[in-house]
């Protein structure tokens, strides 16, 4: 992909952030910081010619399956799906209101959403089953699962990781949004997750570690993923920053699971996000 296109995607990831912010301000809730850490990942998957999908036929049989295991980041997936044309953008304005189509955690009856998630440790096992079904049904779709790093404490992930490795599900791609923060503290302060690469390698995965805010690196990690000769599932550990784009909430545990509601916080969030999008740091 040429540099211009990559730059456009970087910019688009920030436009997506702005829409997430506005949606959560209107709804007075939503996991803003968890959404912001994976904006480049979702933008690249959906608008960087990675995922195969048809927004007019959400259940198209040959679509790639994208499972957001960290279902609390639903705002960003909803914004991305609305931008991709799965449903009208007007749905975003009713987020968490009395006539809402959707609320804080991800809901499978929304076009483009595969499974209801929000219960952590839920997505990878489902993804392994969906990927195995592709093999058994001789289908070519790929299954993507986006995991939060702090959900890796759930043992079910490791049951699923062992299974996917043993079954050599090379049509399964998992991405860990490694923002380093749980709800209360940095992960390495309360219960060490590292070394993540070696853990997943030991479970039979091919592992790549990248800067999860760099579209270029995300695309690089996924290069030729359809035509590869890999015989293992692929794990991409994407180092990210929770709340990326709004400096005063970045890496601040207290901002987990909330939206700015005080007017001064709203103003500051908008201002800082605007400034961030002008930085063009990936030029």
């Amino acid at each position: 992909m040429d540099e211009k296109r990559i730059k456009e995607l970087q910019k688009r990831a920030n436009e997506i952030r702005k829409e997430v912010l506005e949606m959560c301000i209107l709804g007075k809730t939503g996991h803003v910081t968890s959404s912001f850490s994976c904006s480049e990942i979702l933008t690249t998957l959906y608008f960087g010619d990675v995922l195969r999908y048809n927004s007019q036929m959400p259940r198209w049989q040959d679509r790639d399956r994208f499972i957001l295991s960290k279902g609390q980041a639903s705002p960003i997936l909803y914004v991305v799906l609305a931008n991709a044309g799965f449903f009208p953008k007007s749905w975003m304005t009713s987020f968490c209101s009395t006539n809402a189509k959707f609320g804080v955690h991800l809901q499978c009856d929304i076009p483009g959403v595969e499974f209801t998630t929000g219960s952590l440790g839920h997505g990878l096992g489902l993804g392994a089953g969906v990927a195995l079904a592709a093999k058994l049904n001789q289908k070519n779709y790929h299954t993507f699962v986006l995991l939060g790093d702090a959900e890796l404490y759930e043992g079910s992930n490791w049951e699923a990781a062992m299974f996917a490795g043993h079954q050599r599900l090379n049509n399964l791609i998992a991405i860990v949004d490694r923002n380093g923060l749980g709800v209360l503290q940095p992960t390495e302060d309360f219960l060490k997750l590292e070394p993540l690469e070696r853990k997943f390698e030991a479970f039979g995965w091919e592992v790549r570690r990248i800067n999860g805010h760099s579209v270029k690196e995300i695309l690089g990690a996924l290069e030729n993923f359809r035509g590869h000769k890999r015989d293992k599932p692929l794990m991409i550990i994407a180092d990210t920053v929770k709340g990326k784009g709004i400096e005063f909430i970045e890496n601040v545990a207290l901002w987990h699971g909330v939206a700015p509601v005080k007017q001064e916080d709203i103003d500051r969030s908008r201002r800082e996000l605007e400034n961030y999008s002008l930085e063009e740091e990936y030029e």
């Binding site: 499974f115 219960s119 839920h122 489902l126 089953g129 195995l132 079910s156 049951e159 699923a160």
Partner: protein
């Protein structure tokens, strides 16, 4: 019917029969074995998946497979597929209605001397709390085979509770098991109601009482959810109902009958017989049941007092 077998083996044999012609049918096992499974594993190896002793992943993988059109039956020892997986079943089967058939092996004290880790005395209470889950609880090997076929045709989220011991045959081959319950014996005034293996205790009690000239009814409620509305008419013919279960009473089978009576304003009394606590007691299932006062002899005395 040839030699009698366990409900577990009978159910699996029938899965084998329809899995031979429908290659979408799969068994996903948490390293659970059974004599009837050996044939399935060898002859239909592409339709058999052992995920290891990892029940949560068993439910997840099966749900992923089912969402892509496969027809998986999961199989594990009962407490580990019910209590441990409850939340995954709630989400995948209850909320998202993904049609996995979850088989639990070992109702109540079926794993008698394995002890309380392997007893399942609260699955009715917790599983019936999940909306959209059909629950079957057969009482003999004929019921198990027929219900196996029904679950295949229905293609719905289902929980099936199977005993692992061989139980006497109650039904003949013509029984369809469509109605959800069967009044096995008609009686006056008193009716015993049970499910699964406890139906046999109910029959024993009815026979003991018959010797003393007391004729009581016996109902086998083999579909716990949804309960057939037809059962209301049958229950209302009686004055006193006795529910018998190998389950903790709180929220269990008797509670379910109590709800049925209350919700339909039936003019009958209810006596619930069941368990109050977990037990460390060995020497076989009968001995454990005796220790817990849910054996036929003790129940008979209780019913005589009514």
């Amino acid at each position: 019917m040839n030699e009698n077998i366990s409900m577990r083996d009978s159910f699996i044999n029938e899965i084998y029969n329809f899995a031979k012609t429908d290659r979408e049918v799969m068994i996903v096992s948490a390293d659970m074995g059974a004599p009837a499974l050996d044939k399935f594993r060898v002859e239909l190896s592409n339709q058999f998946l052992n995920v290891g002793i990892a029940e949560e992943n068993m439910i997840s993988v099966a749900s992923g497979l089912a969402s892509e059109g496969k027809k998986p039956y999961t199989m594990a020892i009962m407490p580990f597929t019910t209590s441990r997986c409850h939340e995954f079943i709630k989400l995948n089967q209850g909320l998202m209605k993904i049609p996995v058939r979850v088989i639990g092996i070992g109702t109540g004290f079926s794993y008698d001397d394995s002890g309380p880790t392997h007893h399942t005395t609260e699955d009715i209470a917790i599983m019936r709390a999940i909306p959209n889950l059909t629950i079957y609880s057969p009482s003999d090997s004929i019921a198990a085979a027929k219900i196996s076929r029904i679950t295949y045709k229905e293609n719905k989220p289902t929980y099936i509770r199977l005993d692992r011991k061989i139980q006497p045959i109650i039904y003949d081959e013509n029984e369809t098991f469509e109605s959800g319950f069967k009044e096995l014996r008609k009686g006056f005034d008193i009716c015993l109601i049970a499910t699964g293996s406890m139906v046999h205790e109910a029959i024993k009690v009815a026979k003991k009482l018959e010797e003393t000239g007391k004729i009581v009814g016996v109902i086998d409620l083999y579909r716990l959810k949804p309960i057939s509305p037809e059962i209301i008419k049958v229950l209302s013919r009686y004055k006193k109902i006795v529910s018998i279960e190998e389950q903790i009473l709180d929220g269990g089978f008797g509670s379910m009958i109590s709800e049925l009576i209350t919700d339909n304003s039936l003019q009958v009394s209810l006596k619930r017989i069941g368990l109050k606590d977990y037990v460390y007691c060995y020497g076989g299932r009968e001995n454990i049941q005796k220790f817990c006062n849910i054996d036929a002899e003790t129940i008979t005395k209780e019913v005589e007092k009514l």
